[in-house]
Subunit: 339 residues, 2 copies
């Protein structure tokens, strides 16, 4: 039985640990210094408030100064920290890793500095002598943390160029309510996980421009998926990835609720970013960074002749222009529809 | 400017006529004997109640005994009758058709007798000397009639092996709020239009088995799309059709509401078909016939070695077994998830 450590005690990391513990796996959670309070609370109350769930007593907790202890004794290392923290955490992990381990990446996004996927950032941040020996697996698909923690039916995909590693990850997660798939297209899964946040903002914008209609949203559900296929293919991934659970599935669940969609709706109604942030009480909208960094990545691909942004991904192009070029949302949607 | 006649004054036919009239096209509506009352009402009140909309005064109305007059003077003949009536109506049209015309098929389903698509049924029912000369175009995608009639943003696809015909249809519909696409894969579009009704029932069943969750629905949104691709490919169509507006788009809008989804939810909650019919006040659930006839079609494809139902379309297989083999819905979903 593989021993697992989850790095990061945020809501998603904790939900994964709870699922794995319910699935009879030996699980540890290691928290950053920011997670101290959350860990203390779970240890003291036996509950995780944000997930409205009891924490299985089999889970072992480790504080930020216990990284060595948590990692060296684990077979699978699950990275569930923020995209900003991922490179540093991976470097900190380095000394405690060994060739027999597998890394599973939960974090989503496109790295601002390198314009590569988060899984690539992780690979690059591994100690040089381990870089080609520790496989990185990306988990993709529609996973609302609270539903996972409550053993609601969930399906996901595990992606890695290393077939053995995807199977190890799949086996750890699979349960009567958790269905796992595998693919070698880790780039495609990573890109979908980032870009679907942009498209969820776009869907929100549409619902602000034209209230309570479904034809338009259904059209953009299809269009977003088609464009994600185009992006994945241009990057060198597999055309089918976006039409599966990592693309459509995750795009669907993200646009059914959540901050990206709500933010988009405000923008569609004509509010400024600042006004929308204020109404929402937060400035953390995942899809904003995904759109900005995603656009830069597409510019690079365009420069290499692999994509034409305006022609091949017109919906994404309008989303970018609304969010970062000050284009009027109503006008952008009218423009998209008449292309 | 192409002159258009819509055959059938049901809600969808009328909505299409209204859209085309608003788009400055010369439009006639011809009604069957069942449509007399609806036509009289529109002529007298200038409104269509079910669509909550004014009927443009430019639309000309024709009764069931005026078929010749309505059809001979038209360039595009839009068929918008029920799937049960489509073969007979096409035969009745025969004498008034000529080689310069284009037929546009709105009707969805898989024909029970021949297990072919509705567009194929239309082609076969044309007069022999016209069969290879009048192109049949299928319109696909997410179109809620009321939204179309109110000029809400809508996107669709026009499919035909005849490129000229798809362009004529596209041009007639395109407007600042209506975006048209074209494809040669008419089989794929027809199959998606039928099977998405089955998958919408399946999505409803899931929401009856597990209330208020999203991970499962998102997973099945992806799975249904993947399975539609498999079905279309096995039939000889294009793998990309299901990942576009005719597949995902129509599946999404159908499962967001409507009778298929509601019926499925009742079945998922454990009601019998009869109990669900009674609660809904109707026995007309499109997805039921689509699932029954669709399954028979897949059995034929399986017999020819083109698909393995249980392995290649497991979600559809469970839906069929729930609806027609008396399988318990909870058990079927548990079974699907653990495959």
């Amino acid at each position: 039985m593989k021993r697992i450590v989850v790095i990061g005690a945020g809501v998603m990391g904790t939900a994964i640990a709870i699922h794995l513990a319910n699935n009879q796996r030996p699980v540890k959670i290691w928290g950053t210094s920011w997670d101290r309070q959350a860990i203390n609370e779970m240890k003291e109350t036996g509950k995780r408030k944000e997930l409205d769930v009891d924490v299985p007593t089999s889970i072992e907790f480790f504080y930020d100064d216990q990284l060595a202890e948590a990692v060296t004794s684990s077979d699978v290392v699950i990275l569930a920290v923020t995209s900003e923290g991922i490179e540093e955490i991976t470097r900190e992990l380095g000394p405690y890793l060994n060739e027999s381990q597998v890394i599973l990446n939960v974090t989503k996004g496109i790295d601002e500095a390198s314009l590569t996927t988060i899984s690539t950032v992780i690979e690059q941040a591994l100690p040089e002598d381990l870089r080609d020996h520790i496989p990185v697996v990306k988990i993709g698909g529609p996973i609302i943390a609270k539903e996972l923690a409550h053993s609601m039916y969930t399906e996901a995909v595990f992606a890695s160029k290393n077939d053995r590693a995807t199977k190890i990850a799949k086996k750890a997660f699979e349960s009567p309510t958790f269905k796992g798939n595998i693919t070698s297209d880790i780039d495609g899964v990573d890109l979908c996980a980032a870009f679907k946040n942009s498209y969820a903002i776009g869907m929100g914008i549409m619902s602000g421009v034209e209230v309570d209609t479904n034809n338009s949203k259904a059209a953009l559900m299809a269009r977003g998926t088609v464009e994600m296929s185009v992006i994945v293919e241009a990057y060198g991934g597999c055309i089918r990835t976006a039409s599966g659970i990592a693309g459509i599935g995750d795009y669907y669940v993200t646009s059914q609720g959540g901050r990206n969609g709500i933010f988009g709706k405000y923008i569609g109604e004509g509010l400024s970013h600042e006004e929308a942030f204020e109404k929402m009480g937060t400035r953390t909208i995942e899809g904003l960074a995904a759109t900005r960094n995603g656009y830069r990545l597409l510019e690079e691909l365009e420069h290499d002749g692999r994509i034409e942004i305006a022609k091949d991904v017109p919906f994404f192009n309008e989303i970018y222009q609304i969010l970062f070029e000050g284009k009027n949302a109503k006008e952008a949607m009218r423009n998209y529809w008449s292309q």
